[in-house]
């Protein structure tokens, strides 16, 4: 017996580059996902997440760099990769005219299952996702939450070692979102399933073991949500004002930098922010409309790393 060999990472991405014609969407992305991890790719829409997702799902060939899934190259060994991954797309990949069970049946047969084996696996998956009583319903008659569950059941049917999910909670209400996360954690506990998901929701990113923040095709940060937040020194102060540039310059010259203007507000990160606020208010009272003080959130991490707000003004 060989002594414990280091098993390959669930996902290893090296220098991944992709472009659509002239526009570069991935500019050399590197990261690894350990087996059994819940790993989030956080970024705004258009930041390259979905491209990365499609490359990992073997649907697209990158222009440069490599992506390995359990040591297999997603381009050259697509068949091996496809056997070990389950994919849950953002837009439903269920056939809406078929029932839930019929969908799973087709899916199973694509993965070489059949007969009693398939029947058992299907029932088990339906039960786990609490879909047994809806098994004979046509998909187009299901609610958004149930449809999502059926989608996940489909992605998990062949017991993949890695589940790729593109924006898994899009279209789910908060209750269904909670259910989804309970399920994902349960999967990881019971089967050691590795999860890689893309999201643009901070609260979803907060639930991951580790996160990579993707902005304009570049990974700007990788780490646990806690570690990322602790990189920000202390508190976040946001000042609403009609004259952001003036207030920024004033604060910088009086109290030192850096101070940013983000989306028309003045923003600074400082330890013990509550002590600084009265002094700022005193100095600029006539120009300040409101001041808020908060613990850093992932949104702050994102602003800190990229210098712009999360949604909307990507180009600004």
């Amino acid at each position: 017996m060989t002594p414990l060999m280091s098993s390959p990472a669930a996902v290893a991405v090296h220098g991944l580059v992709h472009d659509y014609g002239a526009s570069r969407v991935l500019r050399g992305v590197d990261f690894t996902v350990g087996q059994g991890e819940i790993f989030g790719l956080l970024g705004p829409n258009g930041g390259g997440k979905t491209t990365l997702f499609r490359i990992l799902a073997t649907l697209m060939r990158p222009v440069g760099g490599r992506a390995l899934v359990f040591g297999h190259d997603v381009v050259r060994e697509a068949r091996e990769v496809r056997r070990s991954i389950g994919v849950v797309f953002q837009s439903p990949a269920l056939d809406r005219r078929l029932t839930v069970r019929e969908n799973l049946d087709v899916q199973g047969r694509l993965y070489g299952l059949g007969g009693g084996d398939l029947r058992r696996t299907t029932d088990e998956m339906l039960e786990r996702l609490r879909l047994l009583d809806r098994a004979e319903s046509r998909v187009d008659r299901l609610s958004g939450g149930l449809m999502r569950r059926a989608e996940i059941a489909k992605g998990l049917l062949h017991r993949p070692r890695l589940l790729l999910m593109d924006e898994p909670s899009s279209g789910l209400d908060p209750g269904a979102r909670q259910d989804l996360w309970d399920l994902l954690r349960d999967l990881r506990e019971r089967f050691g399933t590795t999860l890689l998901l893309t999201t643009h929701l901070m609260e979803e990113a907060d639930r991951c073991d580790r996160l990579a923040i993707l902005s304009e095709g570049t990974l700007v940060a990788v780490g646990t949500p806690r570690a990322l937040k602790s990189e920000i020194g202390g508190d976040v102060i946001v000042i609403a004002t009609g004259a952001p540039a003036e207030v920024r310059d004033g604060i910088e010259s009086r109290f030192g930098g850096p101070v940013q203007v983000v989306d028309g507000t003045v923003r600074l990160e400082r330890p013990r922010g509550h002590e600084l606020i009265p002094r700022i208010v005193e100095a600029f009272a006539d120009r300040i409309d409101a001041v808020t003080l908060g613990r850093p959130t992932l949104l702050d991490v994102f602003i800190h790393k990229t210098g712009h707000r999360f949604l909307g003004d990507q180009a600004a």
Binding site: T58, M60, R61, R79, R82, S91, L98, E102
Partner: protein
């Protein structure tokens, strides 16, 4: 891993179930050609004087086999148009990430479409006596042997077009300027005999002509005036089978190629 036979069967089955659950599609693909047949058949009856040696033939009878081919074409189109949306954001996404060869995916889709087209074609074909064409079980069986490869080729051709399309609108444009002329220039609405030479050349170059010729040859005895001047049954079958191979090969090449570039 089991042989991918189960995967093909599942994909074909899915195609059939989907179709049966969509009543509009069933009716649309069937009613439009029948309407064409009824309207053109009655309307052109008096004006139709084919230069057929040995006598005339009522237009509704002449037109009938052409309408069967039209049904095959329409069903092929209807069953493949879903590819356009399915591939980027629908069912097909999950098929493309499954560990089955692309050939199986293409075969499943094309065979599924073929089954539907054949079934629809047969629904019309059994009405042949209404058009004055006699049917025996043997003739019906032989017709199937002609309709299967023709339906397969038309579905595979339609697959090729749909696969490359970004939008359903684009598909409709291609359908109008390319697929409909394939039917119009197949000898379906009018025989090539009376047509000018350039038109006759187009008709002879059109592979669908041979599928339709094979059907007419199966429906009529070899001595019937209506089949005079048509390509022989042997040639018709060979061309139709070649048409199958060519279109299926094309579909396969396209489906394989897309994996290597952006898009799907």
């Amino acid at each position: 891993m089991r042989p991918p036979f189960g995967a093909v069967r599942a994909l074909v089955w899915r195609e059939v179930i989907r179709f049966l659950r969509d009543r509009n599609r069933v009716l649309g693909a069937l009613l439009q050609p029948i309407m064409f047949w009824a309207l053109f058949g009655s309307g052109l009856r008096a004006s139709f004087h084919p230069p057929v040696p040995g006598g005339s033939i009522p237009y509704e009878e002449y037109f009938f086999p052409g309408v069967v081919v039209m049904i095959l074409l329409f069903t092929a189109i209807f069953s493949t148009v879903s590819i356009i949306e399915d591939r980027r954001e629908g069912f097909l996404q999950s098929v493309l990430v499954a560990p089955v060869p692309r050939s199986i995916v293409v075969l499943g889709k094309v065979l599924g479409g073929t089954c539907l087209a054949l079934a629809q074609g047969l629904v019309l074909l059994v009405l042949a006596p209404l058009a004055g064409i006699g049917l025996t079980p043997a003739v019906l069986g032989e017709s199937c042997l002609v309709l299967i490869p023709l339906a397969f080729a038309l579905t595979a051709l339609s697959f090729c077009i749909a696969w490359r399309m970004e939008s359903t609108q684009g598909f409709h444009a291609v359908m109008t300027v390319f697929l409909m002329p394939l039917w119009l220039l197949s000898g379906a609405p009018f025989p090539s005999l009376g047509a000018p030479a350039w038109l006759r050349a187009l008709i002879l170059a059109n592979p669908v002509t041979y599928g339709l010729a094979a059907l007419r040859r199966v429906l009529y005895p070899a001595t019937a005036p209506v089949v005079a001047g048509l390509p022989s049954l042997g040639l018709s079958l060979v061309v139709t089978l070649a048409f199958c191979l060519l279109t299926f090969g094309g579909a396969l090449t396209l489906a394989r190629r897309t994996t290597r570039s952006a898009g799907a």
